[in-house]
Subunit: 337 residues, 4 copies
């Protein structure tokens, strides 16, 4: 069999480990050929495709980013210009036919899953693998990249404790998460955040102020506030800036903000993410061998399984207010807004 593999959407730690898992399993066990498609779906449009051999895989397990390159190209997106969409669709099918690929393995986040589902709809054999630091792909308990991002954010929060306590300040740190607050929740809890704000849970700035003043009264004249970038703000302000200004207004405490930004996506994956990525890559190829196409690889508990792509497309996995870490955090006195 002959497989094409592509990576699409934002980069995230563990993509290269997945590529390695896919390639080693395919080449070593199933004797398949694997081709790398460059820059996401754009590589299918432009026919930028190269064969991958064992020597391409050296060092991939621990390397951040994606050696295949990525893009945000969504060829099946509804355009005002219908003929363009048809043209792109034809170009992609043409490329796949030309290379005689038996399957396209797509590694990506929510947008990629939707595109992969469309690709399956037009008759291509597709297996997809979820990849996102935000952990918001529907249909899997965890996606690789998330543990690494939480790790980096937790390390950053650890560092802010020094400044917060030495200067008796409120430190606000903004972490990634537009719609879903998974990184804020996990890094906030792991980093010892006193207030944690997620897009999914409405907050009341007075209660936040009360929490900070309550800490002062208990002998803790400093606080750590962890906010997801996607919480609602006023006047188009960024999350950290908005919350810092409001806290300073409410409490009179000197408040400083930090926006963690792109360093959450880069660098070496954690051991956890490397193993998850490796397993997902291998299982994708097991499915290819079994000709079970049109599915996304998924982690359920500790088991790797898969779900139909058609169920995944267009959904987002959000944090529930009843999530164990939130209930537990509230019991411990952490303010979620």
């Amino acid at each position: 069999m002959k497989i094409g593999i592509l990576t699409s959407g934002g980069d995230c730690p563990g993509i290269n480990a997945t590529i390695r898992g896919v390639c080693k399993t395919a080449m070593n066990h199933y004797k398949m050929e694997v081709y790398g498609i460059h820059n996401g779906f754009r590589g299918l449009l432009d026919d930028e495709i190269v064969p991958l051999g064992e020597s391409s895989l050296t060092g991939l397990l621990s390397m951040g980013g994606t050696i295949l390159g990525t893009s945000r190209e969504k060829p099946f997106k509804k355009h005002s210009n219908t003929s363009l969409a048809e043209e792109k669709s034809a170009a992609i099918l043409n490329t796949i036919r030309k290379h005689a690929f038996d399957c396209i393995v797509c590694i990506g986040g929510n947008g990629t899953q939707t595109t992969a589902a469309r690709l399956a709809d037009v008759g291509v054999n597709v297996i997809s693998i979820p990849k996102t630091i935000d952990n918001d792909v529907w249909g899997t308990d965890i996606s690789f990249g998330f543990d690494s991002a939480v790790s980096i954010a937790t390390d950053a929060i650890d560092r802010l404790h020094s400044t917060a306590s030495s200067h008796q300040r409120v430190m606000v740190i903004e972490v990634m998460g537009h719609k879903a607050g998974w990184i804020a929740l996990y890094s906030g809890m792991a980093g010892g955040g006193d207030i944690i704000l997620l897009p999914e849970i409405p907050f009341d700035i007075h209660r936040i102020g009360d929490a900070i003043i309550g800490r002062l009264k208990r002998g803790k004249p400093y606080s750590i506030v962890v906010v997801a970038e996607g919480i609602p703000t006023l006047n188009g302000k960024k999350a950290a800036q908005y919350i810092a200004e409001e806290i300073e207004y409410e409490t009179g405490f000197e408040t400083r903000e930090t926006v963690l930004g792109y360093i959450q996506r880069g660098g070496n994956p954690t051991a956890f993410d490397r193993n998850l990525a490796t397993r997902m890559g291998g299982h994708a190829i097991d499915l290819v061998a079994q000709k079970q196409f049109g599915r996304m690889i998924s982690l359920k508990g500790f088991d790797i399984t898969s779900v139909p792509l058609s169920e995944v497309a267009g959904k987002v996995r959000l944090v529930s207010e009843n999530h164990d870490l939130i209930v537990q955090g509230r019991h411990m006195g952490i303010c979620f807004g």
Copy 2:
């Protein structure tokens, strides 16, 4: 309610985070009092017990080791001297009665779970929490400390790749795991080990030699070998030394060994372990509040639950040869012996 908490057995990253989770949940939500028992069960024998307040908890989330101290005291171990055992049992019950503890929370590994079960047998209200870097406590999918140990071991294996490839050597690294090879399996896979040896899987030194020579033939004149300390050896040799000598004899390759040792147990827990430890600590107190005693906290998939202590005692959780990572690793060409 009034609770005593103790930590017993080898230290491991995340114990202090658990103590914090127990205390914050107990004090803040349930208005319980918590007392710290020093040096494991020895503190119950010697009545070394102090109240824990909020100020004791500062910095605990990220701190390695245990602020309560630990020991390997097993007061209910069958002694040749029966009267000593009875004396110890009486002393412990006496201390618990004196302090009027409603429950003893025991944090520890396999030995501790067995002692905790005995303590429950003599009528004490007990909740236990599994803690081990070895991940070999029966009844829980993962115990905290494991992810941190795997992280440290993976980082060490990453470093050995530099030397292995620069010098065209075989590097053998020995990680912890007397009976169970979990650390070797997870760090070996995450660190890109070429050969991974666990106590649970018999190995054939010729096959290992063949794997190393096979790599040479494919243009990779170096290999990384990850071994658990508990694999069988000859003449009482330590695992790494034995395997290194055998490989050198079999293949003629220059081979070097490293024993990772105690640094696997120490230092800051990973974000994953901090959250697992926090959740387990909190749920222990939920059980206390519900008077569901005689149980060990457990992780099943992503849910925290509990199992009867009587089921746990005396068992060890081993790696199965059908474990997904092993099956997957074999497909990728990794040699498990």
Copy 3:
């Protein structure tokens, strides 16, 4: 002898290691008593002073921040209100007399050195120790905190490489340094920055654009730009945002910015900073024992020495355009503006 010690100005990794070096040397070797003055010079105004014993020192070597707390209080600053300045001066002298301190050891940055010089002017025995992540204290080759900050910034730049190359983007990262570009220079060179902008070196946005396009032509369609926060911008924009917008305008490349912020100041000091901090702390006490007051501890090459406080006050140590790393960097093709 009886010594008071205070920490003033922004927190920085290694302050606690210095406090430990001061205390251990003073107590163990010279049998002096040491008192901790809280929150910088404010503690001298308010008489917030506690004795320091050996038990206060546990864990300090690797701990970020300052256990003494800090403030930006500058009691000798020229006020419009002269009587307030006189009042503060009197209060401070009163506190020092009351405690019968033979010397005040002041740990701080440029502002602190100036205040320490004023304190010496009014007749107090003072020894000061330079402390700043910015490395801009005049009179010392390096101050502790700098190596840690460079380490953190370099690690962040390493992470951005993944995203830059996977997405074929320009990534701009802003590091600390208002007047002096030391962090930008050292982390930019260590992190493989392609363009490095310091407050000390004027830049031309066209040359920067040319450098980025030159890289594209040589097959590198991505670049890393490291900027100090203090470079000149237009319309009050922050450094990273301004440069990112200008680069996007000049080159048409997708450009993203990251502001590293407070995480550069926090967390564990590097081994280098711990040893520098320890040595500076110890030598401060050697000077106290020799009654050589009115001096700032200094590193010259690899030797610890000292300089008169009167020479230090009011100066800033800037990067010279002839600095070896810049000359070297230019030879390697790095653009400094």
Copy 4:
């Protein structure tokens, strides 16, 4: 001009950064051609030589090990078989002539410096660069690799503190350093070692026992002992094992040992080492351009300079008992034997 570059002896963090510094400076500024000689001096014997282009340099700054490979081949070593030595010498001169190299840049430790001096003696233009984690090359204040090794060792010692204090144990850690105790001294001081043993300073096991018991009396029932691998022992025992057994015998304390081993040599260099490596690489090429051959690059204070190879060969740089860190450490109560 046309240059050959080789790396010889044990691998160490920063070699690849040096290669990058050499190549970028040579190619970009001086328009020289650079050729990579594989596996140290063996590559000169066997004519394993490839041109290096800009694309070879991607990722080198942060990569551990050496992309050129290394060996311990010493072609000018006095052999019983004189004709072999002459043969090797002829082969090397032949290779150099064949490629018309204007200079050979040799990166290596003490052994390499001696070989480089011999190569200069037979008329070859040579510039050498010191490289060793042990910091024992004579003629330079610091060599790259040392700061990285100290960093790794310090991190390991940090981890042992958890176990030492939780279990009330003595933890002995053995770090690299056969003849010179630089790593033990710097990591021991940075890691908070209580006893630090170097090959250069004779120790008395009774004084060590007294130091440990003295700590117990001051309320610290645990100690950290850092030993260089090269300290004298009895019966051929390894340093850590010998010291641990003696301490247990002297004090009755439970004592555990850890041998850090090869992980000290591997992995990413610190920011400090990357910049030192880069500068040394660049200055080597400056010397080549000036035709100042027969010299080793050297760091003196903060300046890069050079010394005649003939002065360096055959010497070792040891720790003096009057080293500032030792004097300072003794004042603080640390036992050096």
